[in-house]
Amino acid sequence: MNERIDDVLREIASVDATDGFPARVRERLDSGGAGSGIGLPLLATAAVVLLLAAGVWLSVKPDNLDTTTEVQAGRAIEGPPQTTGTAAGGQEMAARDAAPSPSPSVRPARMSQARTARVARHGSSTPPDHERALPALSGLGAIGPHSLPTVPLAIHEREVGALRAIEPIDIPALDADEGERR
């Protein structure tokens, strides 16, 4: 069995180079060693991978996210500086950075401008949550102990009838061994 295995192993392992192998090596030596046969597939593979990566990158670019754009429009007026954003957002940021800080009297006008810009971009005049005014505190119902309903404690108000004396009960006397006999 061992010899049989050895024979087959030797036959499998002892492959010879095909005819013309030295000539092919010389040809590649003469051509400067170029054309190993894997250069073109490697380039094609790299190109495909780059295209796929670019496609994925473009599909998740912030331009395609409406909510991000809307938040950026609001922040361009009164929010903190953005580190990332769209070209429009970047322009607004640059304008904000160049201009002096808005005074309280200027802010309503700026908010109005932002709202107009937002309507032009998205066709909606509904302001984002952070721009909506809070309702007045006076409009809220008061919450306190006086608003709790009073619960009648009826059990304490029930009248208790007069106590009656219990009449004495006559218990007949027993003989000394009467209990044991029963």
Partner: protein, 184 residues
């Protein structure tokens, strides 16, 4: 002409001398590549690349090891690099060719040929299932071109480790063949 003379001439720019080296060691280099990549066409590609690398590295060859061992070192590294490359992985993904294909049966009576072909097919398929390090050592040793000392020097693995890998590969091969009914 000896290897040393051929190397000296090739180092001086004599490409014909290097051609003689290619003629002399083509089979040895292809077999070493075959032990790693397992496919004949890829083994020839690796062997060509290995000879080109050897030609470029020839000025640095000092003769510390024999030319054959030096070529084995270059071929082995080239084959490992080839097997890890993305292009090869993609090429194999779309190919149905097997590693270590069965060899053709020798001339023999018809029934013996059939049994031999069956056995060769079983051995080829079991070789493919062996752990990579065992399989590589087994196939390189089975080619019979190198001593364990030469293999040790070229691969950077102790000779004792290589001997153990070959022995373990043979034991597993025999065991798996027995499971397939080839125990006699």
């Amino acid at each position: 002409m000896t290897d040393a003379e051929l190397v000296e001439r090739a180092q001086a720019g004599d490409t014909a001398a290097f051609g003689v080296i290619v003629d002399r060691y083509q089979h040895v280099v292809v077999r070493a590549a075959m032990a790693v990549v397992g496919r004949r066409d890829e083994a020839e590609d690796v062997a060509q690349d290995a000879f080109l690398r050897a030609y470029r590295a020839l000025p640095g060859f000092r003769g510390d090891a024999s030319l054959k061992t030096w070529l084995l070192t270059i071929t082995w590294r080239q084959a490992l690099s080839h097997r890890r490359s993305l292009v090869v992985w993609l090429r194999r993904f779309g190919s149905s060719a097997d590693e270590f294909p069965e060899v053709a049966a020798r001339s023999a009576p018809h029934d013996t040929q059939l049994a031999d072909a069956e056995f060769r097919r079983a051995v080829s398929s079991v070789i493919r299932t062996l752990p990579r390090k065992y399989r590589e050592a087994l196939m390189l040793a089975a080619a019979g071109d190198h001593t364990f000392e030469e293999m040790s020097q070229a691969l950077g693995v102790p000779a004792g480790t290589l001997k153990w890998r070959v022995s373990e590969a043979r034991r597993q091969l025999k065991q798996r063949l027995a499971r397939l009914g080839w125990d006699r």
